[in-house]
């Protein structure tokens, strides 16, 4: 049933290049500051060094990029391809398939076949006046390759071999263990590591300068802590914080607390309160709640319910409570071990889709038991 909503625009391709249609000022910063060349890639020095060589030798192996989200995998391969082929040839030399495309074996085979069939032609000077190496092969990027089925991966092996002369594959994924060994062994592997704080800082400072927002060291620290080496997250947080700070008149400076709030970090006081309910002594805390019966079942259950009502995510509670417990000097090794066991089981349970409230309660009860068991 046709509706006005889905009126296709035949001459508008959803593929690469369309992002230029947007005014840069209105672009989310993650896209606006996506590295244009591989030299813009922060950190990942080793990868960049190796790839820079391939730019001059123009010989490319099959490649496998892996690493956590937001560390530059997709950006790197897109930048590399753009530098190899230039803007004009990018479209007909690079095929990007990702998990959102239909990726049955037969589809891949067909697409790759038709794509690889047209022999690449060398070219002279690109429309932007620069010359590009434009080596005589095509690049097929399989982004998010870890969500491909085993069968599809197996079939890909053959496809890679059949078309080896004129195609290079680049597999991109988060979890390298989900790529079958025969496929992985055909590729040069590049590991993308979470960004270190120095690289994150310099990239964020660069963006802040370009966008004319003020960030102080506290804010940068908060961004680094909350993003855990995921630059995309750090950039998104920075942008939202700056939106918020410029929305008032006069603009207020961005604060570290605001970054934490945006990042979904639970305020320390909330986690500490919870820990106290479980019988953990917090050093430096104002009052230590040691009232007898102070951590009865009911009290703990009520506290857990309150946390759930406040909407804190289960995994976030676990993560922060875990840090608090393992770093607490007043707990014994045994108490910490028992708690850690509970954390581990709960993490698995939540991954399996278990009820958050039941499992936070379970962890809470076990911690409080571990603590009580060694008290005189």
């Amino acid at each position: 049933m046709p509706s006005t909503f889905f009126k296709p625009q035949p001459n508008r391709q959803p593929a690469q290049g369309q992002k230029h249609a947007l005014e840069p000022a209105l672009q989310p910063w993650v896209e606006k500051y996506r590295p244009k060349t591989i030299d813009d890639i922060s950190a990942q020095e080793h990868t960049v060094a190796v790839l820079r060589k391939t730019l001059s030798s123009t010989n490319l192996p099959h490649m496998l990029f892996y690493g956590p989200p937001g560390t530059g995998k997709t950006s790197t391969i897109l930048a590399l391809a753009r530098q190899l082929f230039g803007p004009d040839n990018f479209k007909n030399r690079v095929l990007e398939l990702n998990a959102s495309d239909e990726r049955g074996i037969s589809i891949i085979r067909e697409k790759v076949k038709t794509f690889a069939r047209q022999t690449p032609r060398a070219q002279v000077v690109a429309s932007d006046g620069k010359t590009y190496p434009c080596p005589p092969y095509k690049i097929i990027v399989l982004d998010e390759a870890d969500s491909m089925t085993q069968d599809a991966q197996g079939a890909l092996r053959r496809i890679m071999e059949t078309h080896a002369r004129i195609t290079r594959f680049c597999l991109v994924c988060n979890y390298v263990t989900r790529i079958i060994e025969p496929l992985a062994s055909r590729c040069s592997k590049f590991r993308f590591t979470p960004l270190d704080s120095v690289s994150t800082t310099s990239r964020l400072e660069y963006i802040a300068r370009e966008e004319k927002v003020d960030v102080d060291a506290d804010v940068l620290n908060a961004l680094i802590r909350t993003s855990g080496g995921d630059l995309r997250r750090a950039i998104t947080y920075l942008q939202s914080a700056s939106r918020l700070s410029t929305s008032t008149n006069p603009p207020v400076p961005i604060t570290a607390e605001e970054i934490q709030e945006i990042a979904g970090v639970i305020p320390d006081s909330v986690v500490e309160d919870f820990a106290r309910t479980l019988g953990v002594e917090i050093t430096g805390g104002m009052e230590v709640d040691r009232a007898p019966g102070g951590r009865s079942f009911e009290k703990i259950q009520k506290h857990v319910k309150q946390l759930m009502r406040d909407g804190y995510s289960g995994t976030q509670i676990l993560a922060q409570l875990h840090d608090l417990i393992t770093l607490n000097h007043l707990l014994t090794a045994r108490q910490k071990s028992l708690s850690s066991l509970a954390f581990a089981e709960a993490d698995k349970a939540l991954c399996d889709g278990a009820d958050e409230e039941l499992w936070i309660l379970e962890v809470a009860l076990r911690i409080s038991k571990a603590i009580a068991s060694e008290e005189s």
Binding site: P14, R243, S247, G311, G314, A354
Partner: protein, 356 residues
């Protein structure tokens, strides 16, 4: 006539009652052209959806309220027809993955692609992108989540996604990395008071504070439940006086009955009775996880302090098994047997110590 919950639902960010800072943040995001993908999370009835709709209105204007429902047919990879109802306005569209059965990936992928390839038909639209709201995002299959990843980046120029979920724990890291996370906490008691008083004022009747408090105590931070309840009470007893009893939903009463049965008697025969009750609940589509939790919480209310942690411990354990396993009834029943044996041992132990 629509229900009060719908009729008096705030329509703009300015009308929202609680979490003023959050409303302010949404307003400033909507006012800037570079609106990000977003993930709203929080307990049910906390007002996530209302906030999302208000944000949309701030983005596009009142046109987002002109909704129509389209029935669309998608083809699964095995050429099966999947029929899905899609709610949409000129500016946005909503999908609920659970309505698409096992094919959420196909449906989402098709919908997003179509939208990505279309432009805003309305040339006077305030934004160049359209918004796709994905309800119950935490029930998206892994496949569907994986399919969203690159799509969210590639089609960013004409598409924004707003995910709505109870919790972020079930979403994969790459998705969270692509969204701005917005936590919507349930309103506090006072905030709920305020909202209910507001509704009462618009309907034009006085709402005694004690009545409001009673409803609040019963609704566990779920504002939708509270307002529904208020309307029910008002129809029941127009002057809101006398002994107002808030009716619990049938399934809840039923679960409580099950809990009572477990405590009364611990025998194989009783296990059979309980099983019959479980079947009844399951056939009425009460999710097994909810059944387990409701029964467990009721049992715990009625047993000795020392037993409570253990009963909840086993509830947690069987809750996971229930999610992984395929025969829900086995795990529910196993938990019941476990609790019965714990309870019985406890009672016997007590008896013995009494003899000492």
């Amino acid at each position: 006539m629509s229900l009060w919950v719908d009729q008096y639902r705030p329509r703009t960010l300015d009308e929202l009652h609680y979490h003023p800072n959050l409303s302010l943040r949404l307003k400033s995001l909507a006012a800037s052209g570079d609106f990000p993908h977003m993930l709203f999370y929080g307990p049910s009835g906390a007002g996530k959806k209302t906030r999302i709709m208000c944000t949309l209105r701030a983005l596009f204007g009142a046109g987002t309220e002109k909704l129509k429902i389209d029935q669309r047919v998608f083809l699964s990879p095995s050429n099966r027809k999947i029929e899905v109802n899609i709610v949409q306005s000129n500016y946005h569209l909503e999908i609920t993955p659970s309505e698409t059965g096992n094919y959420d990936r196909v449906v989402i992928q098709e919908v997003l692609k179509e939208i990505a390839q279309t432009q805003q038909v309305d040339l006077s639209a305030k934004q160049r992108f359209k918004v796709v709201i994905i309800n119950e995002a935490d029930s998206l299959s892994r496949d569907a989540q994986a399919a969203l990843r690159r799509t969210m980046e590639k089609y960013m120029s004409n598409l924004r996604i707003i995910l709505c979920a109870n919790s972020t724990s079930r979403l994969i890291a790459p998705i969270k990395s692509r969204c701005l996370l917005i936590r919507v906490a349930a309103p506090s008691g006072e905030e709920m008071q305020e909202c209910m008083k507001h509704v009462a004022k618009r309907v034009n009747f006085p709402l005694p504070t004690e009545v409001a408090q009673k409803i609040i105590d019963d609704s566990e931070g779920n504002l939708r439940k509270a307002i529904l309840c208020l309307e029910a009470l008002k129809t029941q007893s127009p002057d809101l006086s006398g002994d107002l009893t808030i009716a619990k939903p049938d399934w809840e009463t039923y679960c409580h009955k099950v809990a009572d049965m477990i405590i009364q008697e611990q025998t194989p025969a009783r296990v059979m009775d309980v099983r019959a009750k479980f079947y009844e609940l399951l056939t009425h589509c009460i999710p097994p996880g909810i059944i387990l939790k409701t029964v467990a919480e009721r049992v715990v209310e009625r047993v000795d302090e020392t037993l409570k942690p253990e009963i909840m411990h086993w509830a947690a354990i069987y809750d996971v098994r229930l999610r992984i396993g395929s025969k829900k009834i086995y795990h529910l029943e196993a938990w019941v047997v476990k609790v019965m044996s714990l309870y019985k041992r406890f009672i016997c132990g007590m008896d013995l110590s009494d003899f000492d």
